[in-house]
Amino acid sequence: MADFLVAENINSYYGKSHILFDVSFTVLEGETLCLMGRNGAGKSTTFKTLVMDIVPKKGKVYFNGKDITGMKTYKIARLGLGLVPEDRKIFGPLTVKENLTLGTSMGKGRKGVWNLDLVYEFFPVLKDFQSRPGGTLSGGEQQMLTIARTLMGNPVVLLLDEPTEGLSPVMVKILKDLVLKLKEVGTTILLSEQNIKFAMAVSDRVAIIDKGYIRYKADIDTFKKDDAIKKQYLAV
């Protein structure tokens, strides 16, 4: 296993507000790392920085040994970093199917298993609704569409920002199976989650971020046992 996605001392800002302070971590090839933390801790900001949606003022991001700091978002996407954003960003007036096909553009020239049929197999709802405008889907349906859309591009690294938000318990279960399946085919995953049970079920390692600082890193078994940490940063 190689260091696949590396954040090195990244410092990110919104305008003048300093959000991330020297955030560093590494995701190994094929593993699932879960980034945890309270609301406003900086998880989403970290995700956005990794794909250069926010360019860090300081620090570097490496993907597969290559420095991608400051690269254009779409180029990073074409390298295979697929972000599933927390706020979904469905193309409302476009149909579900059109939304899905838009996802393929990041997968150009890369092989992978995902295609329309497989996606529909995992999310039958989407098949039923394929010719409806994406904007008319319910909150949870949109969440599925967002994930499916990114999968269409056969990402090498999947960045999942709170994928279970707004999903019903059954759907959360389905999603869990999906993530496990993705791991099986070797997808590297960076996850952010508030649903701890879900996180524990799929992650290999855990990092905790608080007020923009990485406070803790451990593998999942150590973390499970470390109640003090859970209490301190996650209040559970």
């Binding site: 954003p85 409302g92 476009l94 838009l102």
Partner: protein, 294 residues
């Protein structure tokens, strides 16, 4: 009113409509795709014409001029998009800033044209092949007008095919909705936007060039077409390509028959149509009410 007059007047309306549509289509494309109200669209109409004029001074060939004019208008459009418009995307009150920025370009381009080519009226002759007239029944229709109608229809077909049937077309539509997300999915959004703007301004140029043999080529001519084409867009439904076509047809025909029956009202007829449409369907004839949810 006899049948022949009706036909003649109908064909006149059609020909008026097609030129209106050619201008409005670029406007509506920019609007529908980039969410930009390109108030300067008429300036590209003007620029295309002057480029063609310049080329015809050198080569005396309408078709070469046309080609160069269209491409020229597109290139200027792309340069403006890259250097200026791009910087205001996503700003608060973006609409107002777009308006001001494109307004600034009306002012600038008009003066630049005057500076380079002078204030006098220029002439672009019709190509020889399209000189004469055709007889449709007992009605005389200039060949050139028929040519414009045909070109208009071709543009409609092409745009329809591009926007709804091709992947690029889908990207173009998506980029009007969420540029950021599209980028995250691996699409080179700035390039798409630049190209779209270029295509649309080239269409503006095309409209100007096709109109030139029938109209007066002069600085200021661009501003005059913009309000009419905006009304077409309003009537048809903002950003809707078919809407622009329908709007243009309605305006063309209403004007055409209005002139027969109520010549006193000619100058306000378009506005009357617009107000009626608005009362009945405020979002325009072919625009679906947005079903987006947050």
């Amino acid at each position: 009113m006899d049948f022949n007059t009706l036909i003649a007047q109908f064909i006149s309306g059609l020909s008026v409509a097609m030129l209106l549509f050619l201008v409005a289509s670029g406007l509506t494309l920019i609007f529908g795709v980039l969410n930009v109200l390109n108030f300067a669209h008429g300036s590209f109409y003007l620029l295309g014409t002057y480029f063609t004029y310049q080329l015809m001074q050198m080569f005396d060939n309408f078709w070469v001029g046309l080609l160069v004019g269209v491409i020229g208008a597109g290139i200027v459009g792309m340069v403006i998009e890259v250097l200026f418009l791009r910087r205001i995307y996503g700003r608060d009150q973006e609409g107002a800033f777009q308006l001001l920025m494109t307004y600034a370009f009306i002012l600038i381009i008009d003066d630049v044209v005057k500076f380079i080519w002078g204030p006098e009226y220029k002439t672009i002759p019709k190509p020889d092949a399209l000189m004469g007239s055709l007889n449709i029944g007992t009605t005389v229709v200039p060949t050139y007008n028929v040519f414009i109608i045909v070109v208009g229809l071709l543009v409609v077909l092409f745009a329809w095919y591009f926007l709804t049937k091709t992947d690029k077309g889908k990207m173009v539509r998506a980029s009007s909705l969420d540029r950021n997300m599209l980028g995250l999915l691996g699409t080179n959004v700035p390039m798409i936007m630049t190209l779209t703007f270029g295509v649309a301004t080239a269409m503006g140029g095309l409209a100007g060039i096709l109109a030139a043999p029938l109209r007066t080529v002069t600085p200021g001519a661009g501003v005059e077409v913009i309000i009419d084409s905006m009304i077409v867009v309003v009537i048809g439904g903002f950003g809707n390509f078919w809407g622009a076509l329908l709007g243009a047809l309605i305006i063309g025909e209403v004007l055409s028959f209005g002139i027969l029956w109520m010549p006193e009202l000619a100058t306000v007829l378009t506005f009357i149509v617009m107000i009626i449409v608005l009362i009945v369907k405020p979002e325009g004839l072919l625009s679906k009410k947005m079903v987006g949810r947050k």
